[in-house]
């Protein structure tokens, strides 16, 4: 079986040497959105581990990265850390049930059909206390019918 690292490179289009340019300046860490709300996250750690062939799949960013691209914007080499995170998640099967439900929907309908996704993650929505926001979501409920656009082409 292919090593995780190789698959990450294949998924993101990066090569191992692309990370050797990292200066270790930690600008990415200083701008990371997560640090605004009290986490101490350092995206460069992830690169370093990847470059050195260390374990990456339990890095804290895998659970937290919001894909805001702030690190990418400030990095002198514009390294796309959120895309690495997404690749790692998909390869190591660390995707959340929500992401999985969306992909399911795309596979079936060719599109993200929201009622289907909500049904699939209903336990999460109830257990994690989202119900109290229902009143505020009136606006978003649109009972369109699913299309099967994906099936035709």
């Amino acid at each position: 079986m292919q090593k995780i690292e190789e698959r990450i490179f294949e998924y993101t289009g990066y090569k191992q040497e692309d990370f050797s340019v990292c200066l270790g300046c930690k600008i990415c860490a200083s701008v990371c959105t997560l640090n605004d709300v009290g986490f101490k996250v350092n995206p460069q750690e992830l690169l370093l581990s990847l470059f050195m062939g260390l374990k990456i799949k339990n890095h804290v960013l895998i659970n937290l990265c919001t894909s805001c691209y702030r690190c990418t914007e400030s990095c002198p080499w514009e390294i796309r850390i959120p895309e690495l995170v997404r690749a790692i998640k998909e390869i190591t099967d660390k995707e959340e049930s929500f992401t999985k439900a969306m992909k399911e929907s795309i596979r079936i309908f060719g599109r993200v059909y929201e009622p289907y996704v909500i049904l699939r993650v209903l336990p999460t929505i109830i257990l994690k206390g989202y119900v109290k926001y229902l009143k505020r979501w009136k606006d978003y409920i649109n009972f369109h019918l699913p299309t099967f656009a994906g099936k035709k082409g």
């Binding site: 998924y11 993101t12 289009g13 959105t33 997560l34 605004d36 709300v37 009290g38 659970n63 937290l64 919001t66 894909s67 805001c68 691209y69 702030r70 990418t72 914007e73 514009e78 796309r80 895309e83 997404r86 690749a87 790692i88 998640k89 998909e90 390869i91 959340e96 929500f98 992401t99 969306m102 992909k103 795309i106 060719g110 599109r111 993200v112 059909y113 929201e114 993650v121 999460t124 929505i125 994690k128 206390g129 989202y130 926001y133 505020r136 979501w137 606006d139 978003y140 409920i141 649109n142 369109h144 656009a149 994906g150 035709k152 082409g153």
Partner: protein, 226 residues
């Protein structure tokens, strides 16, 4: 000239209002767009495999080519994916904010100006970053609002992350991130991203959160109240 319109999943569901108001606004401004038939999801931020994302958008662009090589999408995620899949310069991809500008708005008949209104134009992440796919003019909403007499606030938070991508995964993270944005801003929230709308609206209390298209339709007199 006709633009090929790629609505994307959200605009057919939770962001239906953005879809309707965008169509109406464009027809009021004399811009013609036609929806791409049988389009499929671009993959949003859900796939780790870049090839998959690019493939999805390429398929949609192929379908668009029967209408026009000028393609419009309103969801920031769709715009990013379409722009990334378009490397040969065969298609031009636009976000509505790439096409809207002060001159165009002022050339229409203005029914309501925005005097005495305060707004926070909020762009969120993907209209601002990464730079290859971001908007060219990162102050277009401010410029239009000011030209119409409105007051603009919240410049330092306009490109901060609201946590939209994590909303159904980590509620507390989304709550804490949107709190920063809500606290450091004033007046009516004006957004263009369906997810920013959903997240900010969920946590905004009494604050109003509207799409920029709705604001412009108010200016043109198609919507009675803000």
């Amino acid at each position: 000239m006709t633009y090929a319109y790629y609505p994307g999943c959200a605009l057919k569901g939770s962001a239906k209002r953005l879809d309707l108001t965008l169509r109406k606004l464009f027809s009021r401004l004399g811009l013609t767009m036609k929806e791409i038939p049988d389009w499929t999801c671009c993959g949003a931020l859900e796939y780790g495999d870049r090839k998959q994302i690019i493939l999805n958008s390429k398929k949609n662009l192929n379908k668009a080519s029967f209408i026009s090589r000028m393609v419009i999408a309103a969801c920031p995620l769709c715009v990013k994916n379409l722009k990334e899949s378009e490397k040969d310069g065969e298609f031009s991809i636009f976000h509505p904010l790439d096409l809207l500008n002060v001159k165009l708005i002022l050339s229409a008949e203005i029914k309501n100006d925005l005097t005495n209104h305060i707004f926070t134009p909020y762009y969120g992440c993907l209209l601002m970053r990464p730079k290859e796919t971001a908007l060219k003019d990162k102050e277009v909403m401010e410029k239009i609002i000011k030209a119409l007499g409105g007051e603009v606030c919240g410049t330092e938070i306009k490109d901060k992350c609201c946590g939209g991508n994590r909303f159904f995964i980590d509620k507390d993270l989304a709550f804490n991130l949107s709190k920063i944005i809500l606290e450091r801003s004033k007046g009516t929230f004006v957004v263009f991203c369906p997810f920013c709308h959903l997240i900010l609206k969920t946590f905004s209390g009494d604050r109003k959160v509207i799409y920029f298209t709705e604001l412009l339709l108010y200016v043109l007199g198609d919507i009675k109240k803000l």
